[in-house]
């Protein structure tokens, strides 16, 4: 049996430990916000957080998840108001939108570690995420917009403690 948390909820999984997290999320849990794009860690559409770090759920098996806290796009923010989500909406980043959950999860993880990312840091963190609609200029702009916001929030929650 494998135990882990999914968007804060405890999970026990007794099936095949080889099952990729992606298909567990989509088909078993019905959390379809995490997308399938390539199945081989080539496109980033399936990006989720494992203990806060971005991972490709298509290449992560349930057997890998023992004791891990998994966050999907559905769990990134209770009300959809994570600064990255807000910036994404303010700049109308999405075209078809299909890649954007993965983009947002990669961007949120980047900003947690690197509150003021340079263009090179954005390239490094985001080049694993393909957008076939090529919304890249707005992704870059939205990350920069969210960066200020993440920093401000971190600072204020820090001082509140």
């Amino acid at each position: 049996m494998i135990t882990f948390t999914l968007n804060g909820q405890a999970q026990r999984f007794e099936g095949d430990p080889e099952m990729p997290l992606l298909w567990y999320l989509r088909d078993v849990q019905g959390l379809t916000g995490t997308k399938f794009g390539c199945g081989e860690a080539l496109c980033g559409a399936c990006t989720v957080h494992a203990d806060g770090a971005p991972i490709r759920s298509c290449q992560t098996t349930l057997g890998d998840l023992s004791g891990v806290a998994v966050t999907t796009i559905e769990g990134l923010s209770p009300d959809g108001m994570h600064p990255v989500q807000v910036a994404w909406r303010e700049l109308n980043v999405a075209q078809c939108g299909y890649c954007q959950a993965g983009q947002i999860m990669s961007a949120a993880a980047l900003l947690k570690d690197t509150p003021r990312p340079s263009d090179e840091a954005i390239d490094d963190a985001m080049s694993g995420n393909i957008c076939r609609c090529a919304t890249y200029p707005r992704i870059r702009a939205a990350i920069k917009r969210a960066a200020g916001e993440v920093q401000r929030k971190t600072a204020s929650s820090g001082s509140a403690k």
């Binding site: 088909d27 399938f36 109308n92 957008c131 609609c133 090529a134």
Partner: protein
């Protein structure tokens, strides 16, 4: 705002349960006018499409008692933002409050909504005026209802931001308060409609409207075809014949059935060639989840009978196309005496260009769910083409098209691939095979690349003659490419009128002797539409060649291009041997050389054309008319001493006539620029022994954020006349990008690349 919701409960029309939703009489009339006598004037645009254009407000507008305005969108949303732009037009004409607008997606129903297939960059082009009529009629009905309630002349009622106002008495009513009464009123006749003064537009032409699906997309709630879940649903993948036209040979499914979760392996028949939209057949593995289905498929033991395309080989095929391009072919346009002029020219320039097959590779691979109940079928699918879907599903199930209900989901990228419903037909066949349980069929990326409807492959050969002063005197273009027509009709070996009309025949050049030829090319795979279609190879070759001629003439490429375009004039496309013209009126949608000239000048000016650049950098320019819009791009490149290519900046000037949603037009052009860069630098699908050689994004590479142009500047030509004809938006940005890029590389390095993709040709 909600995402895609099911329409069947939407019996709300300007008030609850008024029952006026059923338009049997109206539809009968529309059908009758659709079959007018032969002497009726020829129809163009949306009116010429099957199902035509509908503008009855009762089909598209519902106002609830609380004032919520539900607008029905019948176009596929695949990233162009049409659900937002569509609603913006109706809401603006109604003078509605955007905060109270909700967008619902229409079921696939051509008789009811008119033509819904979403392709050809025509959603706004074909529907903008109809949407205005819908909004104006709904507004007038609401005003009339208020006037009746107040007992005042309707002329005294004004509409103000979701309210009706009687200024003289200071009275005011919300839309919701008169909706029920308005719904009982007759729809005003078209001649009596009064349109809003464009100066008063709140949404049209403005960039501050958020996407109606923005919240759902950024929170993972948006539903695409691949996300559909139905009670008791099963999951399927299909092993298909690897060669186009092949079929199942021997097989053994025992091991596949051993995989936990696998329920059944179903044989699907292969349609004979030409197979059109029909599925390729093969073996389907149906399971309790996608992963089990995938594992089961790996365990299938199959041999295939490859059929007539087993020797399709891209290298050999290229040689065939080149040989064909070096001999005369069917003449499709001829002006003057090209052979004589080439012979006597002071300079004779020849160049051959090659562009391979491309796959659309939308990020959401093809996917759909289906449920067959008796002789009825319900589809939940990611499709650009609900009509084609209904017809194709009906055909494979042998049921009437009316028995097929198509629920349109968001489309996770289409680019033409999802105009073909082969995958949806597979889902329908599998649901029937599983005794009517809902089945979701998913393509893997490999399935998508191996079983696509690919962009054509072509060789374009150009010859040009210059006189002693460097003036062009002769132009000969041979275009050789397998046609989309061959996917549907046996024996098609020439490009069709629509393919030739995408920039091969219809060049407006000031050249006294000009000939275009189309030698034969046989098709060995499924060819289909890819964003911008044949404009891609034609613009790539033609606009590269213009720069090559300019070089031979010792001229600046921009000046030379402008001279070729010549003075501003309105050319009937028929005079350019283009009988198609995107199915638009040849007069209203003439080839306007002034507009092409305008975008060239604008792009050049904005990009700082002619200003010096550091060593290793260069600018290239290209322009192209497609989908009744005009686009010109200046690409700036940097090629370092190792041959590494970066693109610091692209300026694209665009003239599509009236701009409805500037933010989405900009977004489409931003995307088009990088997609153009992607196909030029990396794009290639190739065949060996009849099979596609690329399996995933490692071998079929697409541009990522780190290699995308760093700075894309979109320059929209000012549009003030909302009565002017609209051009397309989704596709016309792509064609000028590849040639502008190649011209820039030439300017930076002196190297002329004529064979795509560029890949590592600069590193040599």
């Amino acid at each position: 705002m909600n995402g895609i919701t099911n329409l069947s409960r939407r019996a709300v029309l300007m008030g609850l349960g008024t029952g006026t939703f059923i338009l049997a009489g109206g539809l009968g009339l529309a059908a009758a006018t659709g079959a007018l006598a032969e002497d009726a004037p020829k129809k163009y645009g949306g009116e010429a499409m099957p199902g035509g254009v509908k503008d009855d407000p009762r089909l598209f507008v519902a106002v609830a008692a609380d004032g919520t305005l539900t607008i029905i969108c019948h176009r596929a949303e695949m990233g162009q933002g049409v659900r937002t732009s569509w609603a913006m037009v109706i809401a603006d004409e109604m003078d509605a409050d955007w905060a109270k607008v909700k967008v619902d997606q229409a079921l696939g129903d051509e008789a009811r909504y008119g033509n819904q297939n979403t392709d050809g960059s025509r959603s706004m082009r074909h529907h903008f005026q109809a949407l205005r009529r819908i909004g104006a009629a709904a507004r007038q009905m609401l005003a009339k209802a208020a006037a009746t309630q107040w007992g005042v002349p309707v002329a005294e009622v004004t509409v103000d931001h979701h309210s009706l106002v009687h200024a003289a008495s200071g009275r005011r009513l919300g839309f919701g308060e008169v909706a029920a009464a308005a719904a009982t009123l007759p729809v005003p006749a078209r001649e009596t409609l009064v349109f809003k003064d464009p100066a008063k537009f709140r949404y049209i032409g403005r960039s501050d409207v958020g996407l109606v699906d923005g919240f759902d997309i950024t929170t993972g709630r948006a539903t695409y075809g691949i996300d559909v879940r139905r009670e008791g649903m099963l999951y399927a993948v299909v092993a298909r014949p690897p060669v186009h036209g092949g079929k199942l040979g021997h097989y053994n499914v025992d091991e596949a059935l051993q995989v936990p979760g696998v329920l059944k392996v179903v044989v699907l028949n292969s349609a004979p060639l030409p197979s059109g939209f029909l599925p390729k057949g093969g073996l389907a593995v149906v399971a309790e989840n996608t992963w089990a289905a995938l594992k089961g498929r790996e365990k299938l033991k199959v041999t295939w009978e490859d059929g007539p395309n087993a020797s399709y080989d891209s290298a050999a095929y290229r040689a065939e196309l080149e040989a064909a391009a070096r001999a005369p072919g069917q003449v499709v346009r001829n002006v003057g005496d090209v052979d004589g002029a080439l012979k006597s020219a002071a300079k004779h320039v020849t160049a051959e260009y090659y562009i391979p097959h491309l796959a659309q590779a939308p990020m959401e691979p093809p996917a759909a769910a289906a449920q067959v109940t008796g002789d009825k079928c319900e589809i939940w699918g990611s499709t650009q083409a609900p009509q084609t879907t209904r017809e194709t599903v009906a055909k494979v199930l042998s049921i009437p098209p009316e028995n097929v209900t198509v629920h349109q989901t968001l489309v996770g990228g289409g680019f033409g691939r999802k105009s073909k419903p082969d995958y949806i037909a597979e889902a329908a066949l599998l649901s029937r095979a599983m005794d009517g349980r809902p089945v979701k069929l998913t393509y893997t990326r490999t399935d998508d690349l191996h079983h696509g409807f690919l962009h054509t492959v072509s060789v374009e050969r150009l010859e040009g003659g210059l006189d002693a002063k460097g003036k062009p005197v002769a132009w000969l273009h041979r275009t050789v490419a397998p046609s989309i027509g061959a996917t549907f009709t046996a024996g098609v070996k020439h490009e069709g009128a629509s393919e030739l009309g995408m920039g091969a025949v219809n060049t407006p050049w000031i050249v006294p002797n000009l000939r275009v030829e189309n030698p034969e090319a046989e098709s060995h795979t499924r060819i289909g539409w890819f964003r911008s279609v044949s404009n891609i190879p034609h613009a790539f070759a033609v606009q590269s060649f213009v720069a090559e001629l300019a070089e031979a003439a010792g001229r600046d490429p921009k000046d030379f291009l402008l001279e070729l375009i010549g003075p501003a004039r309105q050319i009937n496309p028929a005079d350019l041997s283009d009988s198609w013209n995107y199915n638009e009126d040849p007069v209203a949608y003439a080839y306007d050389t002034g507009r092409l000239h305008g975008v060239v000048e604008r792009a050049a000016k904005e990009a700082g054309w002619g200003k010096p650049l550091p060593k290793g950098q260069g600018r290239g320019i290209a322009a192209h008319r497609s989908f009744a819009s005009y686009a010109a791009a200046v690409v700036q490149v940097d090629v370092d001493t190792q041959g590494k290519l970066t693109i610091p900046r692209v300026d694209i000037a665009f003239d599509c006539g009236p701009v409805i949603n500037p933010d989405r037009v900009r977004a489409q052009l931003e995307g088009a620029v990088t997609q153009g860069v992607s196909l030029a630098t990396l794009g290639e699908i190739s065949f060996k022994a009849g099979q596609v050689q690329q399996n995933n994004f490692d071998t079929y590479q697409v541009t990522r954020i780190d290699t995308a142009p760093k700075d894309i500047r979109v320059h929209l030509m000012p549009a003030t006349q909302y009565d002017a004809p609209l051009g397309g938006v989704g596709e016309p940005g792509v064609p000028p990008i590849a040639p502008a890029l190649l011209n820039a590389i030439h300017a930076a390095t002196g190297k002329r690349i004529r064979s795509l993709p560029i890949r590592d040709q600069l590193r040599a």
